[in-house]
């Protein structure tokens, strides 16, 4: 029996597979056994009601998809009343993704969602679909530090900062999140991108640009995980283009301690459960006893050990 368990700070997960925020909801319980997952991550919740962006909100691209959902939300009250209780009947820890328009509102949200039934708080400072021009807090280290540190003083719950790939300095934002007291970083949200309709010659998405996800982004986000793993000591949760168990192996080797699966679930609702099984099978075949043995194996620091093994 392979031990699939991983730790994200104080939180023990039965396996490293969880959904990405916004690509998962209560509906999935109708198709898969949620108890098989390592954790649940909710759609980002905002202080008040939000309608989301104009349609079309989705477009297809080579090996990927664009979305411009724009964080529709029923607001925090509805969320605490309905969503948190729903997950109480399932085994894995619930991670609540929060978003807000100002650092002060982020801090307020940290306090509001620090309730029993919530195991950790994910900070969505990286959505490319809400601010003008795709801007997001996590593009700058200073702004990242500001939001995370204000939340830190308002809650003892574990804080996971979700970073953006739309920057030349992902490691700087990761370090800022760590310095501000984040317990983990999620690497990363979607890549700002677009597609154009050939009939109208207008952007395909209602908002012009949107976030790219799916296999197309995997090489880019994997690189970010690998860079961040060399920059911070807190655990990294990788997210981008994971379709199968070997994609998870790549992320773990790059330095992630766990992963989030998004787009794959849209194509195959059972993807996450298949990935959990596939990961166990992959490890068994290679006589790897603990999935944690894979973490960081592709990092430069692991190169001497790797060469010794190969020799």
């Amino acid at each position: 029996m392979v031990d699939l368990g991983v730790r994200i700070g104080s939180l023990a997960l039965r396996n490293p597979i969880m959904p990405g925020s916004g690509t998962f909801s209560e509906e999935l319980a109708r198709v898969v056994d949620l108890n098989r997952l390592g954790a649940y991550v909710t759609k980002s919740v905002t202080p008040g009601f939000r309608d989301g962006n104009p349609t079309p909100r989705v477009a297809e691209t080579p090996s990927g998809m664009l979305n411009s959902i724009g964080l529709p939300s029923k607001g925090i009250d509805h969320f605490l009343a309905k969503t948190v209780p729903f997950y109480a009947r399932y085994a894995a820890p619930l991670v609540v993704s929060v978003s807000a328009d100002s650092p002060e509102d982020f801090a307020m949200m940290a306090e509001r969602v620090s309730v029993p039934g919530v195991a950790a708080i994910e900070i969505n400072i990286s959505c490319p679909n809400i601010e003008e021009g795709g801007h997001a807090v996590a593009m700058e280290a200073d702004a990242t530090y500001d939001v995370v540190s204000r939340m830190r003083v308002r809650t003892d719950w574990p804080l996971w900062a979700k970073l953006t790939p739309n920057t030349g300095s992902a490691t700087a934002s990761a370090r800022a999140a760590e310095a501000a007291g984040a317990d983990a970083v999620v690497v990363a949200n979607t890549i700002l991108a677009m597609a154009i309709d050939l009939e109208t010659l207008a952007p395909k998405l209602g908002t012009g640009t949107g976030g790219l996800s799916g296999p197309a982004v995997k090489p880019v986000i994997l690189r970010m995980v690998w860079q961040c793993a060399q920059a911070v000591r807190i655990p990294i949760i990788g997210s981008g283009g994971i379709m199968n168990a070997t994609d998870v192996v790549e992320y773990l080797a790059a330095g992630a301690s766990a992963v989030q699966v998004g787009t794959a679930t849209f194509l195959y609702p059972k993807a996450m459960v298949r990935i959990v099984d596939g990961l166990a099978a992959w490890c068994t075949e290679r006589k790897i006893a603990r999935v944690t043995d894979l973490i960081g194996r592709a990092l430069p620091s692991a190169a001497p050990a790797r060469r010794a093994r190969e020799a």
Partner: protein
């Protein structure tokens, strides 16, 4: 009757049976005319679950040099719960439908469904009018089966570019529907002509409810006539989708329900909505 009163009557009832991922076997995938194809798939377990108006989210096979990444939603065109088959009628437009068009008998088709809330017939509706154009036919055809089973009389007004493009008259005729056809070619399909035709049906007492799908132009016409004559009904709406299960919120349309306008998910809250709930777009 006010629009929200109508809406209360006409709102489709939730269906409890969740969709799942099935691997069907293609039996037939034949051209109906130059632009439409008819796909028959053997998928017994899936077939047993379908309610009229539901759809499947289909995984398209790979094309030689074009990527088809997302699934594509397709209404169930004909269902055979006992025969174990599901039929689709589709219009070959972009990469996804071009890929579906390559399926050959014996091939496997990964189909997620049945999904969404289908049509439901209010017991007060004894005579309904179905207005269908183009591929909207595929979505509305199962109404013929449903109405027949419920002893409801149908008048089907089928619209198309040309006589050659008219399909499925027999699906409705076989279910005992009266079939009226209008075409661009004959100059009988423009809004004023169709409006006159519908007014005749209303006057003849043959329009307890309207059903339509797809075309914004026809939806508007039915809403106007419906408001004027106190007639409700249902409309099946399309929108680009990703998950088909209600998770991603890609597929919303503006729906007026209980006095407020909300972005509802076509895949989960629809695709069938009350005729007067749907804001035209």
């Amino acid at each position: 009757m006010r629009a929200d009163t109508l809406a209360a009557v006409e709102a489709p009832t939730p269906l409890p049976v969740p969709g799942d991922e099935y691997l069907g076997t293609v039996l037939v995938n034949a051209a109906v005319n130059a632009r439409y194809k008819h796909l028959v798939v053997s998928a017994p377990e899936a077939a047993r679950k379908i309610r009229p108006g539901q759809f499947f989210n289909l995984l398209c096979p790979p094309l030689p040099d074009e990527a088809v990444f997302l699934r594509r939603p397709m209404s169930v065109y004909q269902m055979h719960p006992n025969g174990g088959t599901v039929e689709f009628l589709y219009h070959v437009t972009g990469a996804g439908t071009r890929a579906l068009a390559l399926l050959a008998p014996g091939d496997t088709l990964d189909m997620l469904g049945p999904l969404g809330l289908g049509f439901s017939l209010d017991p007060a509706w004894r005579r309904i009018v179905v207005l269908a154009r183009g591929v909207g036919l595929a979505t509305l055809a199962p109404l013929a089966q449903l109405a027949q089973a419920s002893g409801v009389a149908i008048t089907a007004v089928l619209s198309a570019r040309s006589k050659l493009d008219l399909m499925s008259q027999s699906v409705f005729a076989d279910a005992g529907a009266e079939v009226l056809t209008v075409t661009d070619e004959e100059g009988t399909s423009a809004v004023p002509q169709v409006e006159r035709l519908l007014l005749d049906l209303i006057r003849a007492g043959r329009a307890d409810a309207f059903f339509t799908c797809g075309s914004n132009r026809l939806l508007k016409l039915l809403q106007t006539l419906g408001r004027a004559h106190g007639i409700g009904g249902q409309v099946a709406i399309e929108q680009q989708m990703a998950c088909g299960l209600g998770m991603c919120f890609c597929c919303v349309r503006q729906i007026e329900r209980n006095g407020t306008v909300a972005n509802l998910r076509v895949c989960r809250d629809g695709p069938v909505f009350g005729l007067h709930e749907a804001l035209s777009w």
